[in-house]
Symmetry: C4
């Protein structure tokens, strides 16, 4: 078995490919899933690979299936803007697999006359009230656009690990413009706030209209969960101090 | 060397393939071995792969051989029901190997006109008096049958790692119906009780007659072993507390 | 680059292949090196593989070369007995590499009309005054010979990891008789005593005349080194107990 | 995707290839980068490989690109001496990848009529005022030259891990002379001092004129950084001792 794409016939003109796969803080996956849900994009292709993890996944109806990446297509009813949205269960498990799958995605993008690729991911950082968005591109033309949208483009020397970095890096050799948008995230939990920050850049970049406040319930839920985890940590630490016969350091 | 199957000529009509390979709590392997022994199934094929572990195994006669997976065939003398039972020493050691071996197994199943595939494995859980059986299938038709047999089919989102999940997930692309049955197990020791729970579902599903009480001596042996391990753990913990000059916390 | 063998022309009739590669207690490598030195065997082939570790090795003359496995040939001046001795720097680094290299070795053995393969390795055990030798074979004919020489053949179920187990396990499919001899060793240090125990079996098995007492200086050297290590360990433990304010447990 | 080289047309006669890739103490990379900067060498080729890490790298202009190895070419205006300098972001991530990339580099060297290959790396050692330089070669002819330049050639048995060792080890099979120069380094930080020691040997070996004192500012910066790190370690250790209620051992 080789990496392969199964597609349903779908007419596209010049879509923008937006990729958000699992990764740091699930930023990419949350953003892509939001776009699919909000826009009502339709599934047009699925990518399978022997470099994906070796498991079956059970869907909500109890059906077991292979892990995969999916492409969804959406065309605006008003201005004809087109999106091809990539998301999925997983990323390939080895460097070789990452290269093979990224190239297969670019091949598909090429065959669909994709005019721009935007990958979305997380950028590891301390917590911040409003997460920043970092960007990089394989095309000088897009650099100025990113700066104009308030994106930090000073990430020189930083490796962007996984598909979010590899796809734009490989795109140039296929003659495709690509850029990568990374939202600041602490990263150990799903981070819809970081996804929202990136999506607001995507809106400006592509002239999309999205109701990003629909992400707010998820953001609140994660904030509550985080608060509970911290409270639990504090309690565990207290119990450990008492068990070892110590009071808190600051009053000893 | 590629993954390959060596078979002896054997006439089959429409057997059900039951796969139980090493894994969590050895549930699959115990179940498959029990079927082979109880039914007196005959070995009809062996699968070798360079993705299997790199060792020789010594059999009970001192003969060193490759690790392998074996297929055993059985036909009922009364109603003509047929089983092709898969078990073995090991699972492939990498994602790529898992995909390659699973596809080779499906190819063999296809060539033998297999009408249904049932894989058996363990489902990680706390200990419970009567282990539950979880199920997933690649076919809606079988879903209702599973529910009717008391199988829990609500395992949405859970990855079923290894051959037990990958074979059913890949089977659809070969046009083969498949389902996966997982017995609850703590998992760190061989668990014949979980295997028994799964086998009682298999009996109902396929209309097999099996004397599952033949597993009871093994179940008792494992229960005794577990009790001894717990007692030993308690003693070690006590000794460690005394060595560090502490009494049990609750009387200090 | 594929795994390949470079050989010099050498006339052989029906040699016995003896393989001793790095592994547990270096038992195989010490035994093979001893045979080459004692018998004055000549190098006839070298095996290179991209599955070997990725380094250059510097020989005693400062020349950097690839890691490799070597074959040495010896013919007895008295009775025409022939040995092809395999040893080397390393073993392949992955299951796939192990299978590929083992098959390449068997192909070479076949092309040289090898009549029997004997691999040598270590068997993990507690220290014992006289190490036992365990054996396994892919041929019932040789089983009785091993028993007659005092070799323990009851190693049922034990996986023999690496080339020492994989070569005999694969040999059957090439129509080659093979056996594996394992000397008991603690394993964390080179163990010439275990190698000597195995070589005394090899002498009986093949009717070789070897002066095994030439291994005694090495055995003494390792025994002294071991005694020093134990003494150092005792001193470290004592210092740690004193530092933590404890006396030895037995007088507290 | 396979490992590949993209080159710009460049006329060369018989250059010396100097390779310095990331590794212990970054000795090779620092040395190669220094040569490129000092001599004003021009980039003539880039090597890409699916065995390189799976990330995109952002350059100083915000452009994301693949990790790669680069070749730079320089011809002396005075005596016609030619260098082809290899450096890059990374080394391949697996033994197989190391072999594949090293062979691709040798193929390119061969096509450019390279007359000698010199790889540079680090040699793990305690800190020393003046780092020694160790050398190994695949050609006896060069051995005497190395000794004459004060290089230690007694590194028998030491494996030289990675491209610095593998390229010279593989070069013989391509009919190419190669040597490897290793500067002593503690290794956990970039070590321009070790690079300077190796470069002074390279100057003598190839008759190059280089102003190595241009490395001194870097050397001083690293020495200051090291001093600060040690001071910080001392403070942490002191704080930990006080927190655990112990004074320094020597006054208790």
């Amino acid at each position: 078995m080789r990496t392969l794409i199964r597609e349903v016939p779908a007419k596209m003109d010049r879509p923008v490919l937006i990729g958000g796969l699992p990764g740091l803080g699930s930023v990419g996956r949350i953003a892509a899933s939001f776009l699919i849900r909000e826009l009502g994009a339709k599934r047009v292709a699925a990518l399978y690979s022997p470099y994906f993890p070796h498991y079956g996944i059970v869907n909500s109806k109890g059906v077991v299936r292979l892990p995969k990446n999916d492409f969804y297509y959406w065309r605006s009813g008003t201005n004809g803007a087109e999106l091809l949205i990539l998301t999925g269960d997983c990323q390939p498990q080895s460097p070789r697999g990452q290269y093979e799958v990224a190239l297969k995605i670019l091949e598909y993008a090429k065959s669909k006359s994709v005019k721009l690729i935007v990958t979305i991911g997380g950028y590891s950082a301390e917590e911040r009230e409003v997460p920043r968005v970092y960007g990089a591109t394989n095309s000088y033309a897009w650099m100025e656009r990113l700066k104009g949208l308030g994106v930090e483009v000073d990430v020189s020397g930083v490796p962007i690990v996984g598909m979010a970095g590899l796809i734009p890096a490989l795109a140039r050799s296929k003659g495709l413009d690509a850029l990568c948008l990374l939202g600041e995230t602490v990263g150990y939990m799903p981070d819809p706030k970081a996804a929202k920050a990136v999506l607001s850049v995507v809106m400006g970049l592509l002239g999309l209209e999205l109701n990003l406040s629909n992400l707010d319930p998820d953001i609140e839920r994660m904030a509550e969960l985080k608060a509970k985890l911290r409270e639990a940590e504090r309690r565990v630490e207290g119990a450990m101090r008492r068990a070892s016969g110590e009071g808190p350091k600051y009053i000893s």
